[in-house]
């Protein structure tokens, strides 16, 4: 009887190890999709690195000028777009002047999408923000890190005009802005190259600007050493960073709602890792015995 049970157990673990990968895909698909139907918001603490980003913006006085570089494209939208929207919300609520640019061709278009979303908020709509006075989109210019370097000398070397073709000298917001000395904070939203690393190398370490970053989760661990050395003020790491930032600005939105799916999916993955390891070790024990 015992021998029969052992035989069944062995078969069970072996079957488990050779499970069709499509079954795992199905589990993940369900784990991701079902929570989207429940508008549940997970309560999560704001980590210090995210709080630092919030504080860096919160400390600025009304009228301060912030530069935001959109260095990503639509493929990274689920992670970075919520950060962009939250950033605009915090800046406009504090009456900061926002200068938008991009080192990726589609970056400034992502900024326009985020602005469109943020302008739907009643409190921001009431401010009647004007293009060229409260915010400006310089658009994309080719050159990667060379653009960052040249902007340190004069913005006009890289951007003679904004994305609408208006010369910078004719834009009220850009009056008095020559280089990074006239910028109070830079936020870089990055999904790769050129991105945060280039901003640290060419803007922070050469022109000593204050830089905060929002990164895809793949990039985020590489950015944390820059916080410890003071090269970065703070980091929003992936969707979780975006969700924490939404909580910090007291405006839970997409990232927070997505985190429920994220949590369930991670739990399913952990479950499969544990089961896979148990199966592997029990089979190895059987073989050695």
């Amino acid at each position: 009887m015992n021998e029969t049970t052992n035989q069944e157990k062995k078969t069970f673990w072996e079957k488990l190890l050779s499970i069709d990968r499509r079954i795992i895909f199905l589990f993940i698909a369900v784990a991701i999709s079902v929570p989207l139907f429940f508008k549940t918001s997970l309560d999560m603490p704001v980590s210090p690195v995210v709080q630092e980003v919030y504080n860096a913006i919160d400390k600025l006085r009304a009228g301060s000028k912030v530069l935001v570089s959109f260095d990503y494209d639509p493929s990274s939208m689920p992670e970075l777009q919520p950060m962009a929207e939250s950033f605009f919300r915090q800046c406009f609520r504090k009456n900061l002047k926002v200068i938008i640019m991009g080192l990726w061709p589609q970056g400034p278009l992502q900024a326009n999408i985020a602005l469109e979303q943020v302008f739907k908020d009643e409190d921001i709509k009431a401010k009647n923000l004007q293009y060229g006075i409260d915010y400006v989109n310089l658009g994309f210019t080719a050159g990667n890190e060379v653009v960052i370097d040249r902007m340190g000398h004069d913005f006009r070397e890289s951007y003679p005009a904004d994305s609408r073709g208006t010369p910078l000298s004719e834009i009220p917001l850009m009056k008095g802005v020559r280089n990074y000395d006239n910028i109070d904070l830079i936020l870089n939203l990055s999904a790769g190259y050129p991105g945060t690393m280039e901003w640290v190398q060419y803007a922070v370490d050469v022109f000593h600007v204050k830089l905060a970053a929002g990164n895809t989760a793949v990039q985020a661990p590489s950015m944390y050493p820059y916080i410890q050395t003071g090269q970065l003020a703070g980091v929003l790491g992936g969707m979780k960073g975006g969700a924490e930032y939404e909580i910090a600005i007291k405006n839970p939105a997409k990232a927070v709602s997505y985190m429920f799916s994220q949590a369930i999916a991670h739990a399913v993955i952990c479950f499969f890792i544990i089961i896979g390891n148990i199966a592997f070790f029990s089979l190895r024990k059987k073989k050695t015995s």
Binding site: P78, A142, V206, Q262
Partner: protein
């Protein structure tokens, strides 16, 4: 049916086409993949032409020409001809007999990039990081900082020991290397965890598109 609705439908159908590969390879997937690759290539060609070639090369040459006509001399815009010359050399790869000339352009790119990156990378990712690991092991009145600093110093030191292969990893040296490998594994684990989160985020974005934007189920 508005253009936006048609766009959403096309996006959803192509998303399903790509996802269908998870079941098995099929013509629907192949069509979606080929369409994606083709459109990407076309899109990037247009972007490269209008965002790089025209503003950086053509417009500057036009400026040089107008300078020549108005002032009788060209200030510095002639330098863009050099860039154009190297660009043409790059295209010579398409002519096998003189394809070797493209190496000049590549050598220029590799040389300038290496020169530009060397000092910046060394300072930001080398020296500043080394300085960041030189920390006091005891911070009076702050236990968290003390523990954090010890972890940074021990982790960095032992991690470096692991990559020192001129001495056999035995005894105290071997012990330090083993501690180093633990730190390295924990780092890899953190990277892996973040990568999983990133990939799940992309999937969440697609699922939200399918169920929320396309089907409007919530």
């Amino acid at each position: 049916m508005s253009g936006e609705v048609i766009g959403v439908w096309i996006g959803a159908i192509l998303t399903l086409g790509i996802f269908s590969f998870l079941y098995k390879d099929n013509p629907f997937y192949k069509f979606s993949e080929a369409l994606f690759v083709g459109i990407s290539a076309g899109y990037w060609f247009v972007v490269t032409f209008w965002q790089y070639f025209v503003p950086k090369f053509w417009d500057n040459l036009a400026l040089a020409y107008s300078e020549l006509l108005t002032k009788g001399r060209v200030d510095y815009h002639w330098i863009y001809l050099l860039g154009g010359f190297f660009g043409v050399l790059m295209l010579l790869r398409l002519v096998p007999k003189i394809g070797w000339l493209s190496r000049w352009s590549l050598a220029f790119i590799v040389g300038t990039t290496a020169g530009l990156q060397f000092t910046r990378y060394l300072e930001s990712n080398g020296i500043r990081q080394v300085v960041g690991t030189i920390k006091p092991l005891l911070v009076s009145g702050n236990m968290n900082a003390t523990i954090g600093n010890i972890i940074i110093v021990v982790g960095t030191f032992c991690g470096l020991i692991y990559f020192f292969f001129s001495k056999e990893h035995k005894g105290a040296f071997g012990g330090a290397a083993r501690v180093g490998i633990w730190f390295i594994m924990i780092t890899f684990g953190a990277f892996f965890g973040y990568t999983v989160m990133s990939r799940m985020s992309l999937l969440i974005g697609r699922m939200d598109y399918l169920f929320g934007i396309w089907l409007g189920l919530y």
